[in-house]
Amino acid sequence: MVTVCETAAEAVDGTEDGATVLVGGFGMAGMPVALVDALVDQGARDLTVVSNNAGNGDTGLAALLAAGRVRKIVCSFPRQHDSWVFDGLYRAGRIELEVVPQGTLAERMRAAGAGIGAFYCPTGVGTPLAEGKETREIDGRTYVLETPIRGDLALVGAHLADRAGNLVYRKTARNFGPVMATAAATTVVQVQRVVDVGSIDPEVVVTPGIYVDRVVAVGPAEVEGVA
């Protein structure tokens, strides 16, 4: 059952200390900024964050990091021209980093959402990122065993939701959203608008509502049908 929340604060309410939080977005495209800001206010600590990047500028994920709430970040590409918040924490030894190849990051979450126990992946074989991991030769090619990444909470940015939680995304802002939505115990989605059931063509739904627990409209338009 999907809850349509009035505020981002309501949407992230109950997040526990020590939670693993999947945060969508590739750079700022698809980044659920309102939900991450609400998580800063909500106050959960000692978080493990899984996201492609480690925050840009001073807002969104970078603000959560700056508030000292994140113990560990799992990502593929932490270092960017504007990742100064993460860079400072990392160099000061105040945050743990696990670098994962980008496709492996996505597939580990896909596996979690699809009930796959682990998978053999050719990416990273013979590199430092496969060190210590089990390998296996299959049909003459070497693969490394990768395990699922499961979230307690997924924070996703999408374009539209209906009241049943069906989601559509916009352009490359889709990125990690559909995968993360499947991989967490609780999936919270911020959208531009929440529309009535029946307003989204079933053929174009990207994330079916079964994967979604809470949605909140953050504009620019207000939630349709809510006073």
Binding site: G30, S76, L97, P101, Q102, G103, T127, V206
Partner: protein
């Protein structure tokens, strides 16, 4: 065929043009961040080459200009987070699908930058290994092992003058034995089971090149 020589080193644009000339019409191609992006400017109109961007798009068009007919869209960016455009026939997909296209061998060509390439085609392009460096791999490892052909573009020499084609990579690897061809300002190399084959030369001679590199070379042309 005689020794193919241009009398001066190639510019970055000339290197990009050389790569573009070797991409078959209709190929699905991923261009890495930085110098590889220049290849797009040299693909001939009507080539039918479809550009893939790892963040979830096929049919990527040129960078957006921000003009009235071409506004910057924060939801439409390339792998370098630069606003781009979509071409007719474009498609969007999520990240697991995007990397399935790579890993599953569906991309014909990827073009990557490099710190080092070894004589047997090992690639190092994600981490200098310096103690204060922050490692960031992105999609490089998936591309390196996934595309049918892996092309590298780089300068042949590092800023300190040392060759970037080496017997063994000293930087942490991105992929093992994954590079097929290396385009540089001074020469183009094919990585083959017999060793590195020099395809062409620019601003240097075969003998100068062989003396400069610490790896065995083969001529890609018959003796004159």
């Amino acid at each position: 065929m005689t020794e193919p020589v241009q009398d001066r080193p190639r510019s970055k644009d000339e290197v990009a043009a050389a790569v573009a000339a070797d991409i078959a019409p209709g190929s699905y191609v991923n261009l890495g961040i930085g110098q590889p992006t220049l290849v797009a400017d040299h693909l001939p109109p009507g080539s039918g080459v479809v550009l893939h961007t790892e963040n979830g798009m096929l049919g990527m068009g040129p960078a957006a200009t921000g003009g009235p007919d071409d506004p910057l869209d924060p939801d439409l960016t390339n792998a370098g987070k630069v606003p781009v455009t979509e071409l007719p026939g474009a498609a969007y997909f999520h990240h697991a699908d995007s990397f399935a296209m790579m890993r599953g061998g569906h991309l014909d060509v990827c073009v990557l930058g490099a710190f080092q390439v070894s004589a047997r085609g090992d690639l190092a392009n994600w981490h200098t290994g310096a103690p204060d460096a922050i490692p960031a791999v992105g999609g490089a490892m998936d591309l390196a092992i996934g595309a049918k052909s892996v092309f590298v573009v780089m300068t042949l020499l590092a800023k300190d003058g040392s060759p970037k084609i080496v017997p063994e990579c000293t930087y942490p690897l991105t992929g093992v034995g994954c590079v097929d061809r290396v385009y540089t300002d001074l020469a183009t190399f094919d990585v083959t089971v017999d060793g590195l084959v020099v395809r062409d030369l620019a601003g240097t001679t075969y003998d100068e090149l062989a003396a400069r590199l610490d790896v065995p070379l083969l001529r890609g042309w018959a003796p004159a």
